[in-house]
């Protein structure tokens, strides 16, 4: 089947699956952010629960382990009064066992409403969305290097919360952009919402030139990359990068690209610092920046619950069966 329309939208242009920020119109992104505003206040109440998804089931299908992300989705679903089932399908290439589609078919038969899927292969949620029962909604919790749309949305929410207007903003994303699904989602979110300039910063092995085609400015020098910017997003550096001959060592990375208090002064004085977590202190970012006044890393986590509540309640309210 050739997809003629964005598989995330139904025939009325409403969001029924969240697979990637790329290709979603700005109006839908704003709808998510506006809805999330409502849910931020729910999280401040004594009774942190609303009945919007009562009677619905949310299945967390994590083919790639992640306690943090799974927990935030679980909290978000429970605050909407949904039933939550966690399935840790640990993947190993040696034990293929039941095929992916058989797993999905079996779960669909158990009357799931929403699948939250994390998978190590780019594109897996598209395959799943293509094969679920008509009424089921798929939310991508991260696929390979491709997309992490709820993280992208919560990053946009955070930026909007502190900076209000995207059209004047310069945002720098520093680190291993090549392997980062968070970076890709952030780039699509920022370009869709009209950020003035988006820069990606890192060594050539981790920040290749063809990223420019996504609408960003490629910088290989940290000072050039974060000078006068309003937002700095630091990405996690994974150990695997050293073994793949992409970087000599974490120390050398910190020497050239680590975000310290001194280097942060290259950015605007009121710039905010973000990080999707988990943080490697002393590798991509210094402790005193993490704990400093410009860091909004902890609010990101709170906003993350509200944004996920918004996504789940929005897709659940839209008819996915065409």
């Amino acid at each position: 089947m050739l997809y003629r329309r964005n598989p995330q939208l139904n025939k009325n242009g409403e969001l029924v699956h969240l697979l990637s920020i790329e290709g979603l119109p700005a109006s839908i992104l704003r709808q998510v952010l506006d809805t999330a505003e409502n849910f931020v206040s729910v999280n401040d109440r004594e009774v942190k629960k609303v009945p919007l998804l009562r009677g619905r089931s949310v299945f967390n299908l994590f083919f790639e382990n992640s306690t943090r992300t799974r927990t935030t989705f679980e909290i978000a679903a429970k605050r909407l009064s949904a039933d939550v089932i966690n399935l840790d399908i640990a993947r190993s290439s040696a034990s293929k066992g039941e095929s992916l589609l058989d797993t999905i078919a079996n779960l669909s038969a158990m009357a799931a409403d929403i699948f939250v899927v994390r998978h190590s292969e780019s594109g897996a949620p598209y395959l799943i969305a293509k094969h679920v029962a008509p009424h089921v909604h798929v939310i991508n919790a991260g696929d390979g290097r491709h997309s992490h749309p709820t993280q992208g949305l919560l990053d946009m929410f955070t930026i909007r919360h502190y900076k209000k207007d995207f059209s004047n903003l310069t945002v720098a994303i520093v680190g291993d952009v090549l392997h980062s699904r968070v970076a890709r989602s952030d780039i699509h979110g920022l370009t869709t919402l009209g950020a003035a300039e988006v820069r990606v910063v890192g060594p050539k092995t981790l920040v290749p030139a063809d990223l420019a085609q996504m609408g960003v400015r490629v910088c290989h020098n940290l000072e050039e990359g974060i000078r006068d910017c309003d937002v700095v997003i630091a990405l996690r550096l994974q150990n695997e990068r050293m073994s793949g001959a992409l970087l000599p060592s974490a120390q050398e990375y910190f020497t050239s690209y680590g975000l310290t208090r001194e280097r942060l002064q290259w950015a605007k004085p009121d710039a905010i610092v973000m990080h999707p977590g988990p943080i490697n202190r002393g590798v991509e970012i210094d402790s005193d920046v993490v704990d400093g006044a410009q860091s909004v890393i902890l609010p990101q986590v709170t906003f993350g619950i509200a944004v996920r509540m918004a996504v789940m309640s929005l897709v659940a309210g839209n008819d996915a069966s065409e």
């Binding site: 292969e121 594109g123 390979g144 890709r184």
Partner: protein, 430 residues
């Protein structure tokens, strides 16, 4: 069986013959083209009015999946698909299960395929045992068993030293070596490197993987004197190197698949595994270069690269899915589609499907063997009669192959094969 093909437009690319004529076939040979002798009494008369009568197609890359899938009777289904597509001779790569590295396996394959009386099968033998790149195969015995060349299919050689030895050995006997130019280490990826791979977060294969491989192969050809056929070119830069090598006079030929001829990286769409192919689909400029090179002769032959994949292996996340598509039934239509779009003469469009690939098969070993690729009185009667007009839409349901996956699903093709004759016998009738 005496067959008379009446009233068709007979096109023989090799000689340039292109006229309305009758063709008489008897005892496996073409008796006459043009005036039919009055004492020729046909058992079967084919009304070819409005049709083109061409030499049977010669497809240099068709995977029959045998040995390996005997239980699924794939030999039968894939050969039936081939003749339905007008293919009368096909070359199959050695990456079967077990690998075609023993004369007994080759003989068994030829015996089983000949019994089916469909199209002719010309196996490629493995260049190294089990394709592992360590020990050379018994090329002489394999040739005696029926191999027309030697290759590694998609398995890269671990070292240039082994490649050099293999080329030297093959060239001792005048055998052809068929190689897909892709560097082993740079070639670990699932799509073409570039902005699309970066955006989609998929591991990319850079053009350098192909150009470095071609450069190395050509250098070793000079020192070994071997004849090489490069399989499935994919990039403009690779074609430039082929042009230079040919200009130098080296015995180099090459082919390209119908997929690289028509599709590019963005046809992957939303991670559609039907577009997971080897080599990967590259970019616009590569496709343009391929189309130009097929027209001007830099590329010698067009192949289907038929590789049927079953449902379970395709419905997986892109990088985990098995690469390959069913294509042999689409070869003719895709060639004509290219020719029509680019204003290429029918003679050239058919040449890359018939005489040119037939010459490549013949080049690698002493003595002619069937698969003429030509229509000539007295020659072998392998013919394809097709109607160039009817339009049909490619869907999983109307593929005869057991593999139902093609990136061309939903495309419209013009032309339908009506009759396929192999060795003077009607192998397919629509």
């Amino acid at each position: 069986m005496k067959i008379l093909i009446q009233g068709g437009r007979v096109v023989d690319p090799s000689s340039g013959f292109d006229q309305l004529a009758d063709v008489a076939v008897a005892a496996g040979r073409i008796v006459s083209i043009g005036a039919v002798s009055s004492d020729f009494h046909a058992n079967k008369t084919i009304d070819a009015q409005g049709c083109v009568v061409a030499p049977g197609l010669v497809d240099l890359a068709v995977r029959l999946r045998e040995p390996g899938h005997e239980h699924a009777r794939m030999l039968q289904s894939e050969m039936a698909a081939a003749v339905a597509g007008g293919v009368t001779s096909l070359v199959c790569p050695p990456d079967t299960d077990p690998v075609l590295d023993e004369p007994g396996l080759v003989e068994m394959l030829r015996y089983r395929s000949e019994k089916l009386h469909q199209c002719r099968v010309f196996p490629l033998g493995a260049l190294t045992r089990s394709l592992r790149g360590e020990v050379l195969t018994e090329m002489v015995s394999l040739t005696q068993a029926g191999c027309v060349g030697f290759g590694q299919a998609d398995v890269p050689l671990p070292s240039l030293k082994i490649l050099l030895r293999a080329l030297q050995y093959a060239s001792t006997f005048g055998y052809s070596v068929w190689l897909r130019p892709q560097d082993r280490d740079l070639g670990t990826g699932v799509v073409a490197s570039g902005p699309l791979a970066t955006r989609m977060g998929l591991a990319g294969i850079p053009v350098a993987a192909e150009t470095i491989a071609i450069y190395s192969i050509v250098a070793l050809m000079r020192s070994s004197g071997a004849r090489v056929h490069l399989c499935r070119l994919s990039s403009a830069a690779g074609l430039d190197l082929v042009r230079q090598a040919k200009a130098e006079g080296l015995p180099l030929t090459c082919d390209v698949s119908i997929h690289s001829l028509h599709l590019i990286d963005t046809d992957i769409g939303y991670f559609d595994s039907r577009s997971h192919l080897k080599p990967p689909l590259r970019q616009q400029r590569d496709r343009d270069a391929i189309r130009g090179a097929l027209a001007d002769g830099t590329i010698d032959a067009l192949v289907s690269d038929h590789s049927p994949v079953d449902e379970d292996q395709k419905t997986l996340p892109f990088a985990e899915s098995e690469a390959g598509a069913s294509a042999v039934e689409l070869l003719l239509g895709m060639a004509l589609k290219w020719a029509e779009a680019d204003g290429v003469a029918l003679r050239r469009a058919l040449e890359v499907l018939t005489s040119a690939p037939a010459d490549i098969i013949r080049a690698g070993h002493a003595g002619p063997r069937g698969g003429a690729g030509r229509l000539v009185a007295g020659g072998v009667a392998d013919l394809c009669v097709y109607d160039p007009y009817p339009e049909w839409v490619i869907t999983a349901n109307n593929l005869r192959s057991q593999g139902k996956h093609t990136p061309f699903s939903g495309y419209a093709l013009r032309s339908r094969v009506r009759w396929t004759i192999v060795g003077g016998t009607l192998a397919f009738e629509a």
